[in-house]
């Protein structure tokens, strides 16, 4: 198996299994996996597909920085975050946040925090391609 990059922006489909295997160490009793998935509607309007763009050279270290922010707040173990870019069909995974910790509460809280921070500061943008053919960047 290829070594896992814990923080990555990629055009390839995302697979949680290698990330779960990467984060888990014998001291961890909890592994939380969050998957953000392309959804077929937004604000009541049907969506055909999504596309994502990133400032990749910066986004990758920002993901690592956000994980360090979480580590400063909760006693957690390893963290992995992969974000996909390019065109995503409905049902495909756009982002995976995987957090290991000795106990579940910290793993849940850290995963939620990391996802919130990605949406605040990670230079990654989503474009909604509506079913009627129009498209707009989510801001």
């Amino acid at each position: 198996m290829q070594p896992v990059e814990p923080f990555m922006i990629t055009e390839a489909p995302l697979d949680p299994a290698p990330l779960v295997a990467y984060v888990q160490t014998p001291g961890d009793g909890a592994v939380v996996t969050f998957a953000g998935v392309a959804r077929n509607h937004f604000g009541g309007r049907p969506t055909a597909f999504l596309s994502y763009e990133a400032y990749t050279e910066m986004a990758t270290p920002v993901l690592a920085r956000i994980a360090e922010e979480a580590r400063a707040r909760w006693p957690i173990g390893r963290v992995a975050v992969h974000h996909r870019i390019g065109t995503l069909e409905i049902g495909e995974t756009a982002v995976l946040v995987v957090v290991a910790a000795p106990h579940r509460q910290e793993a849940f809280q850290a995963a939620a925090y990391i996802m919130d921070r990605i949406k605040e500061i990670a230079p990654i943008w989503k474009k909604e391609h509506w079913a009627d053919g129009a498209a707009e960047w989510r801001e």
């Binding site: 910066m58 949406k119 605040e120 230079p123 943008w125 989503k126 474009k127 960047w137 801001e139």
Partner: protein, 86 residues
């Protein structure tokens, strides 16, 4: 004069029609001045003023940070689903 590369993303790239532009600035110019010069050339960018993050050479930067010759300045429009800008 100094030369800076300005990286543009998402809606900004659509408005400007290119993923990056090169601007000539006065020595000691700030990140905010780079944005103002961009808006002067592309007035429809103006509605983003106050809703942006900036980076210089891939590090977050405040609007009053100065830029140097050869710097890569990134204008970071609101990110997907983000509401609480910081």
């Amino acid at each position: 004069m100094i030369t800076v590369r300005v990286r543009l993303f998402a809606a900004h790239r659509d408005i400007v029609g290119r993923p990056e532009v090169t601007l000539q600035m006065e020595p000691g110019a700030t990140v905010g001045a780079v944005w103002e010069q961009l808006v002067a050339g592309y007035p429809s960018l103006g509605r983003y003023t106050g809703r942006l993050l900036y980076a210089v050479n891939q590090q977050f930067a405040e609007p009053d940070a100065s830029v140097d010759d050869g710097d890569e300045v990134a204008i970071i429009p609101p990110v997907s689903g983000g509401v609480d800008r910081r």
